[in-house]
């Protein structure tokens, strides 16, 4: 096992800073993220490069990335060298994209060990810098990503166009190259079937709604990411403001929906939440999908005071630790789908019961 693989094992045991469950409105807002897409001026975009070009780009950016001074150490990972489970693990943690995991050839990711930022090299663009914060803090995320961007720029020349701004492989990212996104937990809006209405109104103001794992992913566990679709013709501050202005409105809708549920169908809600908790504590085999779905109910139950003795950070951790690759890394075994479901149920029983042995006997 290489050095990077060992470090990844350490990473697996913690839930990641952005899942701490701290920060303003942390019961609904999970995290804030900003990513910048950048390309080197002297190379073709990644899709048109030769393997030699990619290796050279990686070398150049590796050198630059290791010079980032942000008060913590960086873990530099050669993605091509990783096992399938390790790649999937990084995707589950939002440290690399699914595309980056599945691509071929020289590519890397540099991870801040506190998981507050990561840099993907040779993804769709030569460089993608992302900063993540727990709770709602876009300003903080921007200050940091801007600083890191400036540090890298001391060493390399970015592709930039006077009129079009930062040039990207896909014209949907041209201009600022910036994607601002806020991840929200919206179970009550889903339960009251109002979520579609929210989506439609967001699309009107050209904001995108994605699932937990970005484009095309299912809205697992009622988690949604709200982000800007437009990157050109608006400054970074304006792009952030648009998202920052809308998030409190959605939070308010979610709170209203929760109040409505508590007021109008308290019994049904309490029953639903309790049953979800019951299944998670006693199941002997359980899929990832069902786990997310039930954890989502329990999370809302904790926030509404319907369940005692459980903390949000613990639940956030369970959301991530019960994902397929995490489960395999934590158990130290490669498991097929059926075995994963058994291991997942065991993991949940162990972490949700005061006396896990008792449930083992049941």
């Amino acid at each position: 096992m290489g050095y990077a693989a060992l470090e990844l094992n350490d990473l697996a045991r913690s839930p990641g800073a952005w899942l701490q469950g701290s920060g303003p409105q942390a019961d609904i807002v999970i995290s804030s993220r900003i990513r910048l897409a950048r390309n080197l001026a002297d190379f073709p975009f990644v899709g048109r490069t030769s393997e030699r070009d990619r290796a050279q780009i990686e070398e150049l950016l590796h050198r630059s990335v290791t010079r980032i001074e942000e008060g913590s150490s960086l873990l530099y990972v050669d993605v091509d060298d990783l096992t399938g489970v390790d790649r999937q693990f990084l995707v589950e943690r939002h440290l690399i994209s699914r595309e980056h995991a599945e691509a071929h050839g020289s590519r890397a990711v540099a991870i801040d060990v506190r998981e507050e930022f990561s840099l993907m090299i040779n993804e769709e663009d030569h460089l993608r810098i992302q900063v993540m914060q727990s709770g709602l803090d876009l300003e903080g995320a921007w200050n940091r990503v801007d600083k890191i961007d400036n540090m890298i720029e001391r060493d390399v020349t970015y592709a930039f166009h006077e009129k079009l701004g930062y040039l990207t492989a896909c014209p949907t990212n041209v201009g600022t190259g910036m994607r601002v996104s806020v991840m929200l937990h919206l179970p009550a809006l889903v339960l009251t079937r109002q979520i579609e209405k929210v989506f439609r109104s967001l699309q009107k103001i050209s904001l995108a709604v994605r699932g937990l794992y970005g484009e095309g992913s299912q809205a697992m566990g009622d988690f949604y990411q709200i982000s800007n679709q437009i990157t050109l013709g608006r400054g970074e501050q304006e792009l952030m403001k648009q998202v920052a202005d809308i998030v409190p409105v959605i939070i308010d809708y979610e709170r209203q929906a929760r109040d409505y549920l508590v007021r109008e169908s308290h019994q049904t809600l309490h029953d639903r939440v309790s049953r979800a908790y019951g299944i998670l504590r006693t199941a002997q085999t359980i899929s990832s999908e069902e786990t997310m779905h039930l954890l989502s109910s329990v999370r809302m139950g904790v926030n509404l005071g319907l369940i005692d003795g459980l903390e949000i950070p613990k639940l956030n951790e369970l959301f991530i630790h019960t994902q397929p690759a995490h489960l395999q890394k934590l158990s130290g075994m490669e498991l097929d789908s059926a075995d994963r479901n058994i291991e997942r149920a065991r993991y949940l029983r162990r972490h949700l019961n005061k006396f896990p042995d008792e449930s083992e006997r049941n």
Binding site: N39, A41, D42, F43, P44, F45, G47, R48, T49, S50, R52, D53, E124, D146, D149, N150, E153, T157, Y158, A159, F160, H161, E162, K163, L164, G165, Y166, L167, A169, C170, P171, T172, V174, G175, T176, M178, R200, Q203, K204, S206, E215, G216, Q229, I230, T231, L232, G233, R234, G235, E236, E238
Partner: protein
Amino acid sequence: MKCQHCDKPATFHITELTDGKPQELHLCEEHAREYLTESGQNPASVGSMAAMLAQQMAQQMTVGQTAEELARLDEQLCPFCGISFHEFRSQGRLGCPHDYTCFHRQLDPLILNIHGESEHVGKRPNRGADQSEARTRLIRLRREMKEAVTEEDYERAGKLRDEIRRIEGEQEG
């Protein structure tokens, strides 16, 4: 961004008005065509959708082009990275920074359609990074070298490598 109907990249981004409400459509070329043809075959549904889509496609390819002219535009190549506009349209990814300049006639309306704006506002790099002649030359040499390696013309690849190193050296100095 992926097409709404398949895994291919969406190269057509359309804002459609249904009952006065805007709706975003993201389609790959194939599905955009299919949509257009389907609606075209059924006169009842030749409503706003098909009309808008036709308009978008026409706009994207500059208004009033004949099929021949469209095909010619599609075949246009970037002199540096060698990508054709057709390749860009089918993959949804450009080949090099210079494409924004050489395909600007086709790209400008597309960019305006996606972003509703055509000029960057916001952060700028500290150093001037417009595509200078040396940069575009480097991109061309890298492509030629990739081709030489594919053709197993190692002598030529070696010469190109030296040339690339020379220009890189000049830039650093």
